[in-house]
Amino acid sequence: MPAQALKCKECSTTYPLEARYVCERCFGPLEVAYRAPASSGDELRRRIQAGPDTLWRYADFLPLERVPRASLPTGLTPLVRADRLAERLGLGEVWIKNETANPTHSFKDRVVSVALARAIELGFDTVACASTGNLAGAVAAHAAYAGLPAYVFVPADLEPEKILSAGAYGAQIVGVRGNYDAVNRLCTEVSGERESWAFVNVNVRPYYAEGSKTLAYETAEQLGWELPDRVVAPIASGSLFTKVARGFQDFLDAGLIRGAIPAMHGAQAEGCSPVAQAFAAGTDVCRPVKPDTIAKSLAIGNPADGPYAVDLARRTGGSVDAVSDDEIRAGIRLLAETTGIFTETAGGVTTAVLAKLAERGEIGADDRVVAYITGDGLKTLDCVRGTFEVADIEPRLEAFEAALGAVV
């Protein structure tokens, strides 16, 4: 399904497949448009199944001239059946897409894989990004593998785990005194002046965003070429959320699966919920906010794809909900206790929203639900500090018995 052009989502103006992200006529976002697949669903399925155990098995649906000869193996992460979580929530069938299993422990490895491959095809010599944290590590690692210099712009007050892990790959970390939206604005300006730099989520954003579609492709394939009834996914810019639906639509259009797009449920933190607020208000205008939440990886106060995320949730019979910091911590704990998967705050948001939907009775007893757990708890360790007690004892049997003997 070769890529054909970049197309404006607002006014449908088309552009060649270059490094551009904004429609020059109306400033709308550009998206990759493809030719209809020349192969049958059966043929596409065979090609996917014969492909590598990475996201490159979906090359027919990605905007590259060719799949890179070598890259950090990304994708094909486990889809874990979460029966104990389902039981706790009174649900029938819950699956966790465990994105902590990617090379830098978040879904960002997908978008960076595609963006970097396209950036190299377009002749860029340096990679950069505006990051809330996970992207920083992904850009730094994939650039290291490809041997390209990387500049990673982050809010200076980011979690130390995210800054340290990105810096370890040799990227130049730029800590910007301001929130993510300020970092993003700066990067938009820098990308206009540095012509040989590919900012993965600015000037090559249309290609970058395509990487998130592979979350849907894998989910469908791992469910035996079937669709879930409902999806719960976090919303920061709204790119992942909208592209997951796009991925399911691609497979429907190509005849690989049958049915309809799942009900799409978005998850935000109360301290940064412009999309949830727009959804609740019945509008698609996402008024920007100043983020104040422990879910820093979702702290985008001015979400680029916000209006599309609201439309999608509404159109599919889904929702966009927001949860408090305490609910986020409880969500991290709930997921860890019932599935053995330790997620960062964004996954706490997703799990807490899943719990909220279950409590509200929005999920039917027979519904098959997939929740996207996008990042690893080891990157936001501070959020679980103090949520449990460590028994601190002398190395003597009596001390153990005195401390815990009554409960074990």
Partner: protein
Amino acid sequence: MAVTVKLPTQLREAAGGAAEARADGTTVGEVLEGLYSQHGELRDRIAGDDGELRRFVNVYVKGEDIRFLDGLETPVADGDEVTILPAVAGG
């Protein structure tokens, strides 16, 4: 009041290649009108038919998004910097 308006690369062609322009006005709205009077082609790019900013255009005064201020009514002072940028980035 003379204000500097910084233009993103996507708008420079419509402004004769300039990266910035000078315009007069006491509010952001007036400054933009001043900008359109110099470069007529910019009006359609930046504003919709209702005169409001298109939904993927961000405007900042001294680095602050005008949606946190008074929108197009946001006052500007002599020497202020107004920055126009595409909203479609990040995430």
